[in-house]
Subunit: 245 residues, 2 copies
């Protein structure tokens, strides 16, 4: 590794290191999920300062080849986005953005509708409760990442149908505009064939395996406030958990 | 709800309550993911003791209709197993068994092989390191739940190829027989079409969407000890996370 780095070369050291690591990753010597040695050891091995090493790592994180988690280390990604939404109650958009990914949110529709019976029961809403049905597509640089259909109890957030959800995250709106802190959530993950509307939104053939996420979100006192169905494009996104025993 | 319960009926109260709840669930009034009211409120509503209520809940948990998490409440399941393996570093078998499910582990093969190059790199093993390739099918009452291919660094656990993995969990063996505590893990979840061997093991048609889990497990000092590919039958199992913000 260190052999490929030269103080006499015209490129700055961190650029050389990034190039060397990139070769390790793309060449398979560091495969997907590989955990890099701790920074101090790696810096020593390379004979550079930790600052220089960090600059090199930052380049590869920016390129999506590495992912770093405070206190857990630096890992080679599987070449896809790796949100940690199975582990912490972040919204998908918050999680992508926290990882530094540009995210383009397209609102397909946002209107008040009667809640479907199952959703009404799930949200503990009386019959006739109005619901916001919010349909969105999250796009990354490479194309569609996720297709989301949210149902929100509109009686708890009057006027929510007028919010611009291309600019505001749903959790943010609930918390900041309506004083409904999102405190808890329950998510299940499974694989499903893409239905026609899902396939169209994710730009994949109908029937393509997609990651299917069902979510119920609670605000204070265990009041369910939102239910959603989310389909995630598995060729672009893998849900990641870093776990301790 | 309370109207369906009678102290004069011949069935014990908890049996009546369980029957009433079962009707609520199967009839859709309490849909999948529905969170039941807190026990004290529910007991009061029914006019019964918490002990009686708990007996009724235990019946439905045993039937797989409800799932309960300490401190988080009681939820209606999606009619499938709901391991929490995205959230805590339990092995799949530990998690199923902790939830009270009977699990039948079939070992398809368990033998020493040279580690594949990518696995060798992932595990930080020198070239020529022997690996245990362990192939298993986990079956529940309804059929196959998961198909698992694990690669273990055999140089760290001599003789592991002779362990009976139909009776012992891999994590247990690493910890108890080889003093390799499993301290950390990294898991990614995505959807994938079932390849031929996966389809055969899970008894589904080739190409069926299945939940695909990749895992690297670490022991002390961040030493990677095991890599696995796991395919989960999404018609029988949904991975569940209970999250706080």
């Amino acid at each position: 590794m260190a052999a490929r780095i030269s103080r006499d070369a015209p490129e700055p050291l961190h650029v050389q290191i990034a190039a060397s690591f990139r070769e390790d990753i793309l060449g398979g010597r560091w495969p997907a999920h590989y955990k890099l040695p701790p920074e101090p050891a790696l810096a020593e091995q390379l004979g550079v300062s930790r600052g220089t090493l960090r600059k090199a790592l930052a380049v590869l994180i920016e390129e999506g080849l590495l992912v770093q988690t405070r206190g857990r280390g630096t890992f080679v990604t599987a070449g896809v986005l790796e949100p940690r939404i199975a582990q912490r109650l972040h919204s998908l958009s918050e999680d992508f953005r926290a990882q530094g990914y540009a995210l383009d949110v397209q609102v397909v529709s946002a209107r008040l509708e009667g809640l479907q019976m199952a959703v009404q029961a799930l949200l503990g809403a009386p019959p006739g409760t109005p619901g916001l049905r919010l349909v969105r597509v999250f796009r990354g640089a490479q194309g569609p990442l996720a297709y989301l259909v949210n149902w929100v109890r509109a009686d708890l957030c009057p006027g929510i149908e007028d919010v611009d959800f291309e600019r505001n995250s749903l959790f943010d709106v609930l918390e900041k505009s309506y004083g409904l802190p999102v405190t808890e959530g329950r998510r299940t993950f499974s694989a499903a064939p893409a239905r026609e509307d899902v396939a169209e939104a994710l730009e994949v053939p109908t029937g393509t395996p997609v990651l299917y996420l069902e979510q119920v979100t609670y605000t204070r006192d265990g009041q369910a406030v939102e239910y959603s169905d989310v389909w995630i494009n598995s060729t672009a996104v893998k849900v990641t958990s870093l776990l301790t025993r």
